[in-house]
Structure formats: structure tokens, C-alpha cells
């Protein structure tokens, strides 16, 4: 019973991180119609930036990680604006293959940037003392930080849903996703919407990456796994759907945790089984529409 509960919390923690990454990707995908292979690389970049900020800039003080948690997403968002403005803007509406090539090239470039900037050794961000302890619920000891991650992710989910449904930016985004040409005719600054959406996606990847540094080490070989996982989540959840991304993240996070319990290393295979089952049942994802 205790094991199950622990795995449940572990699965939810994973799901929270996955959701933060997948939500950004699904937005960029759904609104900008761009296949961004580099999204996972941005998440890994966020992890490295968090490492630098919390160990370098703030010298590893007790609250250094929390400063990093605030600063990293903002930096990532700003960086996202630059990438969007100078690279992605050239490939909107082009063939899928061109988008794949460009963003896949970015993966390679980022990979070398990590190596140049941070070296080949895995990096460990020192654990925070604040929220770094553990607490016991129903006689099970659970790290406080895991609960914090789950809480953060839930808050982001709520905030995103509100932004998309209630604010004017959200309305513009949905309109641009629906019909870009018509939006331009009506005087919507579509370029600004695209830039905003991409920056938002990077911002979310920044939050996810910053939080994830407290749960494991940062190393060079991470981006492939997280990128592919994020795409699986987006496809399982349905392109452009935040609810879909959340449900898919929980589904996959749980599958991974319980799979690790029963099949040890081959738990990964289960994720693909889930994906195939969902896609056979609903080819456009749980919450997706056949249009795109």
C-alpha cells in the first residue's frame, strides 16, 4: 500500500514535469503549426541555466535555487523571442520537412552549446533547504519538493486554461490557430501572437527545466528522450489541447512509474503501448480534432 502511494506520488511528479514541457510544445504546435524538435533542447538548456544561476550567480546560498526558478523561465522566454524572430518566422507555412530539418539542426547546435558551455560532466544543482525536507502523509514519507512540483504544475495548468480562454491574447491565439489569413484581414498582429506563443512555450519549458534540476542530474544525453516524450504526449493528448496534454502527461507519468515497478528497465516499452493503443482508438489524440 505504501509502495503504491509512493509510486503514485512519483508518477505524478513525473507527470507534472512532462506536462510543463508538453503544454509549451502543444501550444507552439497548435497555434504556430510548427514542429519544434528543439523544444526538449530548450528544456535541457533551462536546466543548465538553472545550474549556472543557482551555483554561479548566487553562489549556492540557501535561496539560490528559488531565484533561479524565477529567473530561468524569464530568460528562456526572452531567448524564445529571439529564436522565433530570426529563425522560426522564416518557416511558418512551409513544408513539414523544412520545419523538421531546421529545428532538428537546432537540436545539434544546442547539443554542442551545452558541451562548450558546461562541459561533458553531469551537473548537480544543490538541493534547497527550503522545501527540501520530507513530510509524512498516511505514514509514508514523501519529499516535500515533489509535492511542490505537483502544485506548481497544477497552478500552471489553471493559469494556462484561464489565459487561453479568458484573455485577449488567448482569444487571438485561438483565432490565429483557426484561420490566420482571416485574422490578418481583421487587423490582428499575427506575428506578435506567434512570437508570444513561442515565448510562452519556452517560458513553460523553463519552469519545467528549473524544477526538474531538483529531481535529478543534468547531462548531455537528455534532450532526445524528453523531446520524443513531449511529442508522444502532444500526439496522445491531441494537438493544441492543454487538457489533452495534462491527461496524457498523467497517463504517461503513471505508466512509466508503474512500469518501472513491474518491468524494471523495460517499463519504457509500456509508454509506447499506451501511445499505440490511444492512437488506434483515436488517431488524432484524446482531445484532438481531425482538422490538423
Amino acid at each position: 500500500m505504501e509502495t503504491i502511494f509512493l509510486i503514485l506520488v512519483g508518477g505524478m511528479t513525473k507527470a507534472s514535469i512532462y506536462f510543463l514541457v508538453a503544454a509549451g510544445l502543444t501550444l507552439v504546435f497548435g497555434v504556430g503549426k510548427v514542429i519544434n524538435f528543439a523544444h526538449g533542447s530548450l528544456y535541457v538548456l533551462a536546466m543548465y541555466v538553472t545550474y549556472s544561476i543557482s551555483t554561479g550567480l548566487f553562489g549556492g546560498g540557501p535561496y539560490s535555487f528559488w531565484y533561479a526558478l524565477v529567473l530561468t523561465p524569464i530568460l528562456l522566454g526572452a531567448f524564445g523571442c529571439i529564436i522565433e524572430r530570426f529563425l522560426l518566422r522564416r518557416i511558418y507555412g512551409k513544408e513539414h520537412l523544412v520545419q523538421l530539418l531546421l529545428t532538428y539542426g537546432l537540436v545539434y547546435i544546442f547539443q554542442d552549446i551545452y558541451r562548450l558551455g558546461w562541459g561533458v560532466m553531469p551537473k548537480i544543482v544543490p538541493h534547497t533547504t527550503f522545501m527540501g525536507g520530507s513530510m509524512s502523509i498516511m505514514n509514508v514519507t514523501i519529499p516535500q519538493f515533489n509535492l511542490f512540483v505537483i502544485f506548481c504544475s497544477a497552478a500552471v495548468f489553471l493559469a494556462l486554461s484561464l489565459v487561453v480562454s479568458k484573455t485577449s491574447f488567448g482569444r487571438f491565439s485561438r483565432a490565429v490557430a483557426f484561420d490566420e489569413g482571416m485574422c490578418e484581414l481583421l487587423g490582428v498582429n499575427t506575428q506578435a501572437v506567434y512570437t508570444g506563443i513561442f515565448a510562452l512555450g519556452c517560458f513553460l519549458a523553463g519552469i519545467g527545466g528549473a524544477l526538474a534540476t531538483q529531481l535529478g542530474v543534468v547531462h548531455l544525453g537528455m534532450s532526445a528522450h524528453i523531446t520524443i516524450l513531449a511529442f508522444i504526449l502532444v500526439i496522445v493528448g491531441g494537438v493544441g489541447s492543454i487538457n489533452g496534454a495534462a491527461v496524457a502527461a498523467i497517463l504517461v507519468g503513471m505508466t512509466e512509474s508503474f512500469g518501472a515497478l513491474f518491468l524494471s528497465e523495460f517499463g519504457l516499452v509500456l509508454i509506447y503501448l499506451v501511445m499505440v493503443t490511444v492512437l488506434l482508438w483515436r488517431p488524432f489524440g484524446l482531445f484532438g480534432k481531425p482538422a490538423f
Partner: protein
Amino acid sequence: MLRDDKSVNRTKAALGTALALALLLTPLLIDGYWLHLLMEIIILGFFAISLNLVMGYGGMISFGHAGFYGIGLYITAGLLKHSGLPLPLILLTASLCGALCGLIVGYLCVRLRAFYFAILTLAFGQLIWAVIFKWYKVTGGEDGIIGVPLPEFLSNETTLYFFILAICAFCIGIIYWIVNTSFGQVLAATRENSERTECIGVNCNRHRLVAFVISTFFAGLAGGLYCLLSRSAFPDLVEWGKSGEVLLSCVLGGMYSFFGPFVGAALMIMLESLVTSFFTDRWPLVLGTIFVVVALAVPQGITGYIQEKLQRRLATLKQTGATP
């Protein structure tokens, strides 16, 4: 227009003959590292042409071909090391296993369009990689399989070269024949407009699936041949990096010309050897930049670019009334 032109055809035939002669005579001139490089080009070129059957002709972007390549690679390595089977049988097994996995993956993927197809094949390719990477007992995990013994008759490098050349040339010939059969024409039609093709009574998905299986069969074979060359098998060769490399070969060379991917593969390998000889570990950065530049500047590929220029040239020549 260009295709009907007799002089262009004659040039093409002459180029082909020259290339064939060059490939036959090179082992007399070069050996060691350069011959090794040439073999790598031939294998990657063959792999790229097999991928292009799916990509250029079928219009399906497969980002998971390294998986099938890897299956061929590991099966060849394992069988050469632990069984006494004759080599042709081993290579056939490797290709068939690649095709079998291609059948399963293809069955699940061909119903999906464009980027869904790309992401799904990528996911399955990575699944194959993950299994190979984690299944330490059989595949050796990260350490891979090293010291694969070759049969007696291939111990000579020149013989190995001709063996690889012969198989690749034969299989490229088969693919060339396939794309020119009615099957190949229908496949291209499904790429151009699948709705119309469906309307005249063609089962598009079945054509896509058959093309995918054929392509993965040859991808498995390419992996098997690479094992003969490297005498080892590593999980790095199965990862999505390899899929991206061969995909870039196709695009760089030009997807809409039959030999374009081969040209792209040759460029890639030569560039890699050039870059790594100057800056040992900056290859990813250079490769990434090539990806970005190709995507932004020449998405139609090198051969596509040349063909465009030639066509424009011919058109202007015809307009001005001069004879080429």
C-alpha cells in the same frame, strides 16, 4: 521538358558510365582510410536511396529508419559472432527482420499523415534504440558488440569493397526498377494527391505500407552491410541522430531525383571526415548549421537546385531561339 531532351539523356548516360567505371577502378588507386570512406559513402547512399523510396516517392517523412538499420546491424553482428550460418543467409535474415519490424511499425503508421507519421516513426525508432540500449545481455548495451568475425573470403579489403559495391548496386537497381513500375507511379500519385488517387480506386494505405516494408527491408540490409565494414555494432548507430543524418542526405542531395540521396550521402560523409580532421569534436555544431542552412536556403536539395537552374537556362535559350 528536361527529361525529353536527348542531349541531357546522353549526358546522364555518360555520367553514369563514368561513375561506374570510377567505382570499379578506385580500389586500384586508393586503399586504407579512403577506401573505407568510399565504402561508408556507398552504404549510406544505398540507405538514403532506400529511405527516399518512402520519402521522395511516397511522401512519408520517416524519422525512424535508423531503427530498422539498427536491427539489421545487430542481427548481422550477433549471427556472425555466434552462429556458423553462411553470410548471404545472415544478410537475408537481417533484412527480413528489418522488413518485419517495418511491417508492424508501418501498419500502425501509414494511416497517419505528414507530421504525425514523422513523429510516430521517430517514436518507434527510438523504441528500437531503447530496447537495444537496455537489453544488456543480448546486445551488450552501451558497450555494443565488438570484434565481429568476417568470413574468410572478405578478409581482404578490396574484396570487401567489391562485395559491398555489388550488393548495393544490385539493390539500388531493384529500387530503380520499383520506382519505374506501375507500383512506383501509383506511389508517387498517392504523394501528389491521395484523395484523387483514392477516388480512382487505389488503396493508398496499402501502397504506402508496401513501400515502407520494401524500404525497411533495404534499410536492414544497409545496416547488415555496415556491420561488415565496421565489424562492430553500437547503439549510437540506431539513435535518432542516424535517422536525421540519412534524412538530411536525402534532402541535401534532392528528394525528387533518384540519385540525389546518394549525392547527399557522399557530401555528408566527405564533409564529416573533413570537419572532424580539422576540429575533432565540433561536428555536431557544423552538422546542425548545415541542417539550418539547407532548410532555409535550398530545401529542394542540391540536385533539385541544379535541375531548376538548368531548366531555367533551357527555357531562356528556347525563348531567344538559340540552340543549346
